[in-house]
Structures are given as C-alpha cells and as structure tokens.
C-alpha cells in the first residue's frame, strides 16, 4: 500500500501534475524495470523512505513504459534515482545504492549536520590493474580476454539496460560462451571503447578481438547466417 506521498507515474502529464502540485518540495524519482533484480531492493527502500519522509514526493517511474520521461532525464540504466527540488536537479544516483539514497534524502530534507554511520582511517583501495598499462593496451587485453567478449551495462545476471539484457538473451539462445565487462564500472574504458570501435553505444560484442556490432547488428547476423561464420574457429 503506497503512502499518500508515493505514486506510480502513469504518463508525462500525470508526472507534471504531481510535480507542479508543490514546486518547493523535494521529489525522489525512482526509475525501475521489472526485469532488473536490483530494482526490487531500491523499490523496497523508496517504500520505506516514503513512509519516513511524508513531506517528500516519491515517484515510481517504469523506465521503458515511460520512455519520454526517462529520456528527458537521460536515464541510461536501471535502477536510477533522481532527486529534484521543483525542477532543479539536486542529485543523481545510479545503481542499487541504498545508503546513497537514504543519505541524499536525509541531506536535502534537514539542515542538521551529517552523522556518519561508519568511519575509517584506511587509505582508499588502489586499482588492481597495473598503473603503467595505458588505456589502449588495456582495451586490447580486455577485447581478447576470451573468444567472445561482451561490453555491456551491468552483467548477464543483472543487466542495467534493455539492449544489454536482450543481447545476453540472444547469446544464451545461440549457446555462445562469452565473458563480459560492465562498462558502467569504468568511465575511461567506456569512452575509450566508443572511440576505438567507432561505435557510439553499448552493448558492444567482440569476437576474436574484433568489434562485431551492437544488438541490431548481431540480431541481423544471426538471421542472415553471418553470426555462425564469425564464430567459426
């Protein structure tokens, strides 16, 4: 049962109506999809936060059904949370980061100073990769880490975008063994691959170290027989 400040958005006009009812209050937009497991956690978190903060507006937005709204906020993956005050963007949270959303709602609704829940004096962990390996060599190494490599948003068990989910499904249907890399975890790699493969989007499928295509192309190749040729030893 949703509390009075918690709504499922049914259309762009419903969205505008809810926001403009009070342009001074903070709103939390939760972009979700029923096929993405991490969204279950974030949905549960927003349900609890809505009960705790009755003055904040909580909006559930099914990202694919409300694609116009998703696009206007540049939503690339689910779950994604946007905090607004009226129409002003306060913060963006990408991924099922329950502590981040809890802290953000607390931050923007109270003036009191932060009360840290944990403290550490340890230095931040250093990256595992060899620091002297440059981006080009790193991309080459990853593209050749197995015969078939998929650069995607999220992972096959927890895809973070519809296209990434569908290409995983397609590879599984075709019984193709592949390794993956989550490009959401590494911004320099994400931009580097777009330039290297001269392709603006993800997912990107690599076979034998060479860029093959995104979802549309791989689908077409399956249909015209080119895919099995590309996989031949």
């Amino acid at each position: 049962m949703l509390s009075p400040n918690h709504h499922e958005v049914s259309s762009p006009s419903h969205f505008q109506q809810l926001l403009s009812a009070d342009l001074d209050r903070v709103s939390v937009l939760n972009f979700w999809a029923d096929w993405a497991e991490p969204c279950k956690q974030m949905n549960a978190v927003t349900l609890e936060l809505a009960k705790k903060y009755p003055s904040v507006l909580f909006l559930q937005i099914e990202a694919e059904a409300q694609s116009d709204i998703s696009e206007s906020f540049d939503i690339e993956s689910v779950p994604s949370i946007i905090l607004l005050q009226g129409h002003t963007l306060l913060q963006r949270i990408s991924g099922a980061d329950a502590p981040a959303i809890t802290a953000a709602v607390a931050k923007f609704t109270s003036v009191s100073s932060a009360n840290p829940q944990s403290r550490t004096d340890l230095p931040p962990a250093t990256a595992v990769a060899n620091p002297s390996e440059d981006l080009e060599s790193r991309m080459t190494r990853l593209m050749n880490q197995s015969k078939v490599v998929l650069f995607m948003k999220g992972s096959p068990d927890a895809p973070r975008c519809g296209f990434s989910r569908r290409i995983c499904g397609l590879l599984q249907d075709q019984k193709v063994k592949f390794t993956h890399f989550d490009i959401l975890s590494d911004e320099s790699l994400r931009q580097g691959l777009k330039k290297r493969n001269d392709w603006p989007t993800f997912p990107q499928l690599i076979i034998n170290g060479e860029f093959v295509g995104g979802l549309d192309i791989v689908q077409e190749m399956v249909e015209n027989g080119e895919f099995s040729e590309a996989l031949a030893p």
């Binding site: 001269d198 860029f211 093959v212 295509g213 549309d216 192309i217 077409e220 190749m221 015209n224 080119e226």
Partner: protein, 86 residues
C-alpha cells in the same frame, strides 16, 4: 525530429534502392525510425559494414532523431526472405 518524406528522399538520393520500408516508432513524432532497406550497394558487404555505410550516408538525418534501427538486404537476400515467408 525529421519527417518521413524527407528521410525517404535522403535515402533514395544516397544509394540505389530496390525496396524500402520506413516505420516511425515514435507514434508520428519523427524522433525514432526503423527501416528495412534493400539495395545492390550492399553486395559484398558484411552486416557491420552495411550499417556503418548507412549510418554515414544518413548521418545528418540520424542526428535529428533519438533512435534509429536498420535491417539491410541485398536484392537476392530480400527475394529469398519473401519466398520463405510465403
């Protein structure tokens, strides 16, 4: 956004077309198109090469859309497809 007639004209100007279908997937808003394009210009080109070729020829038009998807066939491939579908 780009209107369907302009997109069609741009495609026909860019390469020889034996069959073309254009679908506006944004419910008439001209923001998102899916095309089926049959052309002898695709002979000898793999799928990726065809897509890059079309993306390049139509880059000004694609820049005006939010989303674009394409299915490409040579005349022979398209003939075979139609025969299979009966």
């Amino acid at each position: 956004m780009i209107n369907l007639a302009d997109l069609e004209a741009a495609i026909r100007n860019a390469l020889p077309v034996s069959h073309l279908e254009i679908q506006d997937q944004s419910s008439g808003c001209g923001e998102s198109y899916a095309i089926v394009l049959v052309s002898e210009a695709f002979e000898g080109k793999g799928t990726l090469a065809r897509h890059r070729f079309v993306n390049d020829l139509l880059k000004d038009q694609i820049a005006q859309m939010h989303a674009f998807s394409q299915k490409t066939f040579t005349p022979k491939q398209y003939q075979d497809l139609v025969a299979k579908q009966g």
